[in-house]
């Protein structure tokens, strides 16, 4: 089994960038890890990791457009998958790539926002993410806060 965590790459294959997300390995797909002081922040970081697979965040310019996400889910692990998939769906529907995220929770009700911009020709593109899966899905408290992880299908 190959599961080696790559420490804080920020963007795949490059050094530097955000320190709030990282990746773990999977033969065909990619594992994302979001970390944060709160559960919601960990989910936001997992979203950053997911979108950084599709485009280098450093090639983005202005997060000028906004999308809203809302769903009801009691299971926090399923909630991670639903959050990521809702963002992927909204991004594809609106032709946007997201770079900033905010998520709030009230009991089982989750509401989030994402900011991004339309695809441009000169963006540094990566690989399309088809969806977040239930494989190696975990949401857990750590010493420093929360960690959310799953495999995303690319």
């Amino acid at each position: 089994m190959i599961v080696t965590e790559k420490a804080n790459p920020g963007t795949l294959g490059q050094e530097g960038g955000s320190r709030s997300f990282s990746y773990f390995e999977h033969d065909a797909d990619i594992g994302v890890i979001g970390q944060g002081a709160t559960l919601e922040a960990a989910f936001e970081s997992a979203a950053e990791a997911t979108f950084a697979v599709m485009v280098d965040p450093q090639s983005l310019q202005r997060a000028s457009q906004e999308a809203s996400i809302a769903f009801t889910e009691e299971d926090v692990e399923f909630a991670l998958v639903r959050w990521l998939n809702a963002l992927l769906g909204a991004a594809r529907e609106q032709g946007l790539v997201f770079r900033r995220f905010a998520l709030a929770r009230e009991g089982p009700r989750w509401s989030g926002r994402a900011w991004g911009e339309p695809w441009r020709e000169n963006m540094e593109r990566g690989t399309e993410v088809k969806g977040a899966t239930l494989t190696m899905l975990s949401v857990r408290q750590t010493d420093g806060g929360w960690e959310a992880r799953c495999i995303i299908d690319v």
């Binding site: 294959g13 797909d29 280098d56 594809r92 695809w119 593109r125 990566g126 690989t127 239930l134």
Partner: protein
């Protein structure tokens, strides 16, 4: 993979021994020792998980190109009997429903292609929408998309993308029955509005190839293949619509399994009995996804043909065959001495019908169904033919590709996109891509040895080799 738990039952087949007290059906892996050693141990875990699902008939099977997937391994095959509580699993189909390969044969030779190959590559890159965030020219309303989901490739032909006659050479004659557009979410349809006729990214490609070796002259003749001939392979699936169907049903089927008392060894095996409202709903949506993919490849084949027509106005560019390798289909198979209707999951596996099967186009019926194993952009691909032994060994299934040998992270650490593209150009392979990072992730060295996979597929009696094609031009997302 540690082979200690495996019992070799033939040179190309391995049975997974049960742990003490382990309650599950048989699990069998096909391949030689070297291929199995390079597989991740997760393949073993995933295929034995599949062997625990209700209503499984025969063993859970892993093809020679199997690798670690989610739920099922990629290269996993399993058949379920609805009369025995058999299930349908979204994790046994995958997010990219009906991902597959359309292979086109041309009347061109490698010599005729060579002088124009760079310009042809540029034009294909310009006219074939590829890459993350890239949409096609075709924009459909929700109502029009519903027609696509019902009509598949037939819809595309009706709208000017190709000829009626070529549908004979598309699985299911271009359209599966039982599609229920009403079971597909509005979001899935909205995601697809600009994505009909797009390639996608990752391991999807459009390749111009040259037939380099012919293994079976009679089958090659039936398929219209000869050494030195130019062919085109298009690898893609159901795009955003299929991805969203997978997304929509993954969590709902995982919850349904809990409600229905199905103990899932892995939540990604999210499933419901075929004969349940939840199962029937997913089947209707999945069939809509299959038709979406068939239409998508039909449109892409037409776009590619148009580009070839510009450079080679007299050339014939015809569909050789179109095979899907992420599906679940109801098929009649003989099991335990009687014919039964089984739901056969093939996740990263190709159907491989034996000579004489009535579902094979007449022209190919004596040779067997064409099976296409897509390789990496630097190595090559195989056309094989279905064989009769595959029915008893794998419900008439075979390998679908080279299969990844290392993760995308590992590939990125090992190769740089620009250098890789330059090195391939030196070898006469022209890469056109919007993503150098994606090119590095798809480096030929990140895949298993496709020759070994094809040899093992033949050795295991799943299909026999007909021809090998080397790449000349590759358009990647």
């Amino acid at each position: 993979m540690n082979l200690e738990r495996l019992e070799q039952t033939s040179p190309w087949a391995w049975r997974v021994e049960r742990e003490p007290g382990e309650a599950r059906a048989e699990a069998v892996l096909y391949g030689d020792a070297e291929l199995l050693r390079t597989m991740d141990d997760k393949v073993l875990e995933q295929i034995t998980n599949v062997a625990r699902l209700p209503g499984l008939v025969g063993p859970a099977l892993a093809m020679p190109d199997a690798h670690w997937g989610y739920g099922f391994p990629i290269g996993g095959v399993a058949a379920f009997d609805p009369e025995q509580g058999g299930i349908i699993s979204a994790g046994g189909v995958g997010f990219d429903i009906s991902c597959g390969i359309r292979c086109l044969r041309t009347s061109l030779t490698a010599e005729e292609l060579a002088p124009l190959a760079p310009k042809l590559a540029d034009s294909l890159y310009r006219d074939i929408p590829a890459g993350v965030g890239v949409e096609g020219d075709l924009k459909l309303s929700i109502g029009e998309l519903d027609s696509v989901l019902l009509g598949g490739a037939r819809w595309a032909v009706r709208h000017g993308y190709g000829e009626e006659a070529e549908l004979e050479y598309v699985e299911e004659r271009g359209c599966v029955a039982g599609a229920k557009p009403e079971n597909v979410s509005q979001l899935a349809k909205k995601r697809q509005r600009g994505e009909m006729g797009t390639l996608g990214s990752g391991n999807h490609y459009l390749e111009v190839q040259v037939v380099e070796r012919v293994y079976d002259a009679a089958a090659a003749e039936a398929y219209g293949l000869r050494a030195g001939q130019v062919v085109v392979s298009i690898h893609c699936g159901s795009r955003g619509l299929g991805h969203q169907i997978g997304t929509d049903y993954l969590v709902s089927l995982a919850k349904a399994a809990g409600r229905l008392g199905i103990a899932l060894p892995d939540r990604e095996l999210a499933c419901a009995p075929v004969k349940s409202p939840e199962g029937e709903q997913y089947i209707g949506a999945m069939n809509a996804g299959i038709n979406c993919a068939l239409a998508n490849r039909q449109i892409l084949a037409h776009l590619a043909r148009r580009v070839f027509g510009h450079f080679f106005p007299k050339a014939r560019v015809e569909t050789l065959f179109d095979v899907s390798h992420n599906t679940c289909k109801a098929e009649r198979h003989e099991a335990n001495g009687r014919e039964r209707l089984l739901w056969v999951h093939r996740k990263g596996a190709t159907r491989s019908l034996a000579p004489g099967h009535p579902d094979i186009p007449k022209r190919y019926r004596e040779a067997g169904q064409p099976v296409i194993i897509g390789g990496s952009m630097g190595t090559g691909s195989y056309v094989l033919a279905g064989v009769s032994s595959s029915e008893a060994r794998a419900w008439s299934s075979a390998s679908h590709g080279a299969g990844r040998a290392m993760s995308r992270h590992q590939a990125l650490r090992q190769w740089q996109g620009r250098q890789l593209v330059d090195a391939l150009r030196e070898r006469g392979i022209l890469i056109r891509t919007r993503s150098m990072r994606g090119a590095a992730e798809e480096a030929p060295g990140a895949y298993k040895d496709v020759d070994r996979v094809a040899e093992a597929t033949e050795g295991a009696g799943l299909a026999r080799r007909v021809a090998f094609m080397r790449p000349v031009v590759c358009v990647k997302g």
